[in-house]
């Protein structure tokens, strides 16, 4: 459905991406992980049209979208929830959702769609007339997701869902993403917390310094020491311990504190 082929992206003289390629199939949930500065956000911003690649191609449903401005890409069916959310802070929750609905404004089903989206986020119903900037971090992130869903996108692009949030809320948000994905929306997400990302996705790409270093099924990557090395530096990390510890987490995925003790056997 989404096909990124060999894109190079520059910020002025700096090359941020070198020949990055990835794809997202319909119904898939794909993760893009890597250290800060690796180019994850740059990749997403290029997909949604905020940046234009200097070379390479991006195709969505077979149609070329590289170089198109963001307002055209969103009508093609891609919704981008940027890093830091970029809400309309001084506008109300409802107005934020109304703007999320912008591409569909001619079809008069705003109410229905808003209700369906709010079903995922009941707390937003309570706060519907509050200014978006007054919501808590977790609520803001929920609003961000809700707003992105308002345009009934076929592909949801999420950048750093967990930024600045407590683990419990992050887990909640990831569950919602699972539900959304189950309903048929493909998801491409960037996440700093690797483990969380790998747990909830089908496949993942690891970006290092602007290039795709690893690509595999998420399950496999979870077991892979190379992943840890790419993150924590090669020399002094006790990689095996870290990998085993990560393995132990596979059994559970909830922030209830039981995981560690339950699965710990080999370490």
């Amino acid at each position: 459905m989404l096909e990124v082929s060999g894109i190079d992206v520059f910020y002025g003289p700096i090359q941020a991406l070198r020949g990055v390629s990835l794809r997202v199939e319909p119904g898939e949930m794909v993760a893009l992980v890597g250290a800060n500065g690796a180019g994850k956000t740059t990749t997403l911003r290029t997909v949604s049209g905020l940046l234009a690649p200097a070379s390479g191609q991006i195709r969505f449903d077979g149609k070329s979208i590289d170089g198109q401005p963001p307002w055209e890409v969103v009508s093609a069916g891609i919704a981008h929830l940027p890093e830091g959310r970029e809400l309309f802070a001084d506008m109300s929750v409802v107005d934020n959702l109304r703007l999320g609905n912008w591409t569909l404004r001619r079809k008069r089903e705003f109410r229905k769609r808003m209700d369906r989206v709010m079903d995922h986020f009941p707390i937003l119903r309570e706060r519907s007339s509050q200014a978006a900037g007054t919501l808590s971090g977790g609520e803001q992130q929920m609003l961000g997701v809700a707003r992105a869903l308002m345009s009934t996108p076929r592909l949801l692009v999420v950048d750093e869902l967990s930024l600045g949030l407590a683990p419990k809320i992050v887990a909640q948000l990831f569950e919602i993403l699972d539900e959304v994905n189950a309903e048929g929306t493909s998801v491409l997400l960037v996440e700093q917390f690797v483990h969380m990302a790998l747990e909830h996705t089908d496949r993942a790409y690891v970006l290092v310094k602007g290039e795709v270093a690893l690509e595999d099924e998420s399950r496999e990557l979870l077991r892979s020491p190379e992943l840890m090395a790419a993150y924590l530096g090669e020399a002094e990390v006790d990689v095996a311990d870290a990998a085993d510890a990560a393995d132990g987490e596979l059994a559970t995925s909830h922030a209830n504190g039981k995981a560690r003790h339950g699965a710990e056997s080999d370490a």
């Binding site: 500065g37 956000t41 740059t42 307002w71 969103v74 890093e83 970029e86 309309f88 506008m91 912008w102």
Partner: protein, 302 residues
Amino acid sequence: MIFFLTQLVLATPLVAAYALFALGIVLIYRASRVLNLAHGVMAMVPAYVSFRLRELGLPMPVAILLGVASGAALGAAVEAVFVRRLRKVSPTAQTVGTVAVYGLGVAVIARVFGTTPVRPESAFGDGEILFGSAGISHGQIGLIVVACILTALLFALFRFTSLGLAMRGSASNRTAAALMGVNPDRTTAVAWMMGGALAAVAGIMLSSVSTLDPFGFPLQALPAFVAALIGGLGSMPGALAGSLVVGLTIGAVPGLTNAPIIGGFVSSIGASQAVLAVVAFVVMAMRGEKLSASNVRSAGLS
């Protein structure tokens, strides 16, 4: 006391004019982060256009309509030529661009119409309503009424229409608006056109109750900048509140000539302007920004 209150009432048309100016200034600022220093010129040119059309025999409503249209066109032109092109240079360059427009506007009008002040006729006739010894002309009342109607329309536009929503979103967060499917360049252009139209209305109305000349008239909009600054530049209700403060200040200062101590200062020429300038500086000093970390990091690489 009566005198003081009378002065305040007489200042109401001023409040109306400044409100229209300030709304336009804030609208433009929110949409493009540029302070349109040429706003006074965008009020003056349509006033002259409407004046000339009337002289040529066109009916009043038509002349006014075309005048307002010229204001909108001027706004769109300034946005396209100076604001958009200079966006990648710097906000300073954009501001100096509006200065160039100011200079050009004054110069062209002076060439075409000469520098002798003219007095366009009022759309509302020449009558007057008397308050004791002072009077408010029909034209001034018309200004107040039109200002109220336009303000209401503007608020309705922003609250209830999709265009209004798109403009608000664009002003609030350009990037996010783009990601929602809104083309921020287009909303910016619309904002400038609307700002130009508002300035045109204010200019046409105001010129008919005072005089119209190329050098002095554009400066009439300056108190509106103070109004916008007081209101915080970011909000329309703020602009209205600021206009109230400014209009009343300018009206009230002459009203204090009988007061003890300050009466002397207040009756000198230009006292209200001096007071207003002080108010403006105080507001800016209180609102100002110091060197802070937020200036260091904007969107980084990642």
